[in-house]
């Protein structure tokens, strides 16, 4: 089972299962204690310059936007960032806080490519390593499993592989070629969920995206939630818990925390707002103006909510599909 091929892409965050185990044992408090705090405290306490971070799910869908906006307000810089994203990664790139990017997809789906990504990468400012969407998810899964890598049959034979940090080996059981993906551990992860108790036991409705794997791949995990529910609710439906408290370091209550993205069964995406930002993002000054107004211009998520306006948000609630 020797190495038949290696990607040229830089591994911004090499796998280290033993190091992660030791870190967890030394730093992670397994006691079930209250972790509710405001976003300012959560970000200030658990994020530092140079951290490798990630967000789940993505830009327009159940994204931890309120936490990202606070991260930008606090100007945490030289960040490594993993993954799949839209507006949340654009925000970080536009704010100049990103140093390296393990990229799978940054664009606006039906609305096309990201001008902010273009400026950041074409200028050579932000370094990139390529992965497929499944590859990034499986890298989190490897970390979540506590193993240094996972085999897959994706990326083989392409430039996506050539610019990744993966390796090709021969399977010792079948002799088939497989692509090995290195586990990806995050310094800090951000997830927005539907419900959490004060200890950090979380519930998510609808698709789970990559929340399960991602939450288990983080050293520090900051949760924002639409609603904080009593612990008894968690105990009543234990199979609904996708993230147990011991993975979580902070619980931040953030109604409409995914705006301008959607939150299934709660509120629909703010199409006007998204289109406006996409338009603004074509111009550096206008992009800056957007950040000034919606991020730097507000003290916290509460002020942001007031800026967007409850009327608008209630209307978005009326636009989301039910069960």
């Amino acid at each position: 089972m020797m190495i038949l091929g290696e990607g040229l892409g830089e591994l911004f965050c090499p796998p280290d299962p033993n190091g992660f185990r030791e870190w967890v044992h030394k730093n992670k408090d397994l006691a079930m204690k209250e972790k509710v705090m405001d976003e300012k405290t959560a970000i200030a306490t658990f994020v530092k310059d140079g951290d490798y971070i990630g967000t789940e799910l993505y830009g327009t869908v159940r994204a931890p936007m309120s936490l990202i906006r606070e991260l930008i307000r606090q100007g945490k810089k030289d960040l490594g960032v993993a993954g799949q994203g839209i507006i949340e990664i654009d925000f970080l790139l536009a704010a100049g806080l990103v140093k390296t990017l393990d990229i799978t997809y940054v664009a606006y789906e039906v609305y096309g490519i990201s001008n902010i990504l273009r400026r950041a990468v074409e200028s050579g400012k932000v370094k990139t390593t390529e992965w497929s969407n499944a590859a990034i998810a499986w890298r989190f899964k490897a970390a979540a499993m506590g193993v240094p890598f996972l085999p897959t049959r994706s990326m083989l034979g392409t430039d996506t592989f050539k610019r990744s940090g993966a390796k090709v080996v021969e399977c010792p059981f079948t002799k088939m070629k497989v692509c090995l993906l290195p586990a990806l551990y995050l310094d800090v992860g951000f997830i927005h969920c539907h419900r959490a108790d004060k200890y950090g036991n979380c519930q998510i409705d609808g698709i789970s995206g990559f929340a399960f794997e991602f939450a288990r791949a983080c050293k520090r995990l900051i949760i924002s939630t639409e609603k904080i529910i009593p612990h008894e609710e968690i105990q009543k439906y234990p199979e609904k818990t996708i993230i147990p408290y011991y993975l979580v370091d902070a619980v931040v209550e953030a109604p409409y925390g995914s705006h301008p993205g959607e939150m299934c069964y709660c509120y629909w995406r703010d199409e006007e707002h998204l289109k406006k930002f996409l338009e603004d993002s074509k111009d550096i000054e206008k992009t800056k103006a957007y950040l000034d107004k919606y991020i730097y211009g507000v003290k916290n998520h509460e002020e942001y909510i007031n800026l967007i306006g409850l009327e608008r948000l209630k209307w978005l609630e009326s636009q989301i599909g039910g069960r």
Partner: protein, 253 residues
């Protein structure tokens, strides 16, 4: 009845969908094609979406591969790993792809134009495309602009595998056997691949489009069979459902 290029493209793609099969659906045209197909040709088509949606009703058009419409009244709402592993296990028949460039073997580029770093133009990146192109049994590429800038001899970056360098190449690098490009739908024609050479072949032109026009707009040698068909224009029924039910807000058409 008048119709746009996009509407024709959607209808031609929709007609490709078999009923009672699974299809990996990406953002944009594929969503409209799947939705239209479900309403006319393939009521039991099971649309599968990257971030976990399996078999939604598709009453309303999704705007993203993870939005709530991808699992509204669905069979299941899973996560990306289950979807990708289901494809890797061989359970997904069709996969839809797109890109800025395509070559004669159906390899696609959606990563960079020019050198890798720093690039002339930074495109979105693979997303799920490489996975869909690696795992699905038959992939269908949607190319809205059939011209020499997009249909090229050599693409700048192979984001997603087609037949790579030709017959046997996919198997040689370890990709699952008997998978690969199946059709290409463009604003000019419907194309496929020749069995033996795995090279792109013209199947049928759109109404009013001449074979020469397709050849002139293709940057590599296209295989032209003795018989080239002609695609039916959108039927009234197709256009009515497409405009009134599939995309009433005219997001795409």
């Amino acid at each position: 009845m008048r119709y746009s290029e996009t509407e024709l493209l959607i209808c031609v793609a929709a007609r490709l969908m078999e009923d009672r099969k699974t299809a990996f659906i990406g953002t944009g045209i594929p969503m409209l094609a799947a939705s239209l197909a479900k309403k006319i040709y393939a009521p039991n088509l099971v649309a599968v979406f990257e971030f976990g949606g399996i078999g939604p009703s598709l009453e309303k058009l999704p705007l993203g591969v993870g939005d709530s419409r991808t699992f509204h009244r669905a069979i299941a709402a899973m996560g990306i790993c289950d979807i990708m592993e289901t494809a890797q296990r061989g359970f997904i028949e069709y996969g839809f792809l797109g890109g800025a460039q395509i070559d004669m073997y159906g390899n696609l580029n959606s990563t960079v134009i020019g050198p890798y770093f720093p690039p002339k133009v930074r495109l979105p990146g693979s997303g799920g495309a490489n996975d869909v192109g690696s795992f699905c049994w038959k992939t269908i590429a949607i190319m809205r602009e059939h011209n020499k800038k997009r249909f090229v001899e050599k693409i700048d970056f192979i984001t997603t595998p087609g037949y790579l360098t030709g017959p046997g190449a996919r198997e040689a690098v370890g990709l699952p056997p008997n998978t690969g490009p199946y059709r290409v739908v463009t604003n000019l024609a419907l194309l496929g691949y020749e069995e033996k050479s795995k090279r792109m072949m013209l199947l049928a032109t759109h109404p009013g489009v001449k074979v020469e026009q397709v050849i002139e707009n293709t940057g590599f040698e296209l295989i032209i069979p003795d018989k080239v068909g002609e695609n039916e224009p959108p039927t009234e029924k197709e256009l009515k459902i497409l405009r009134e039910e599939v995309d009433p807000d005219r997001l795409y058409i």
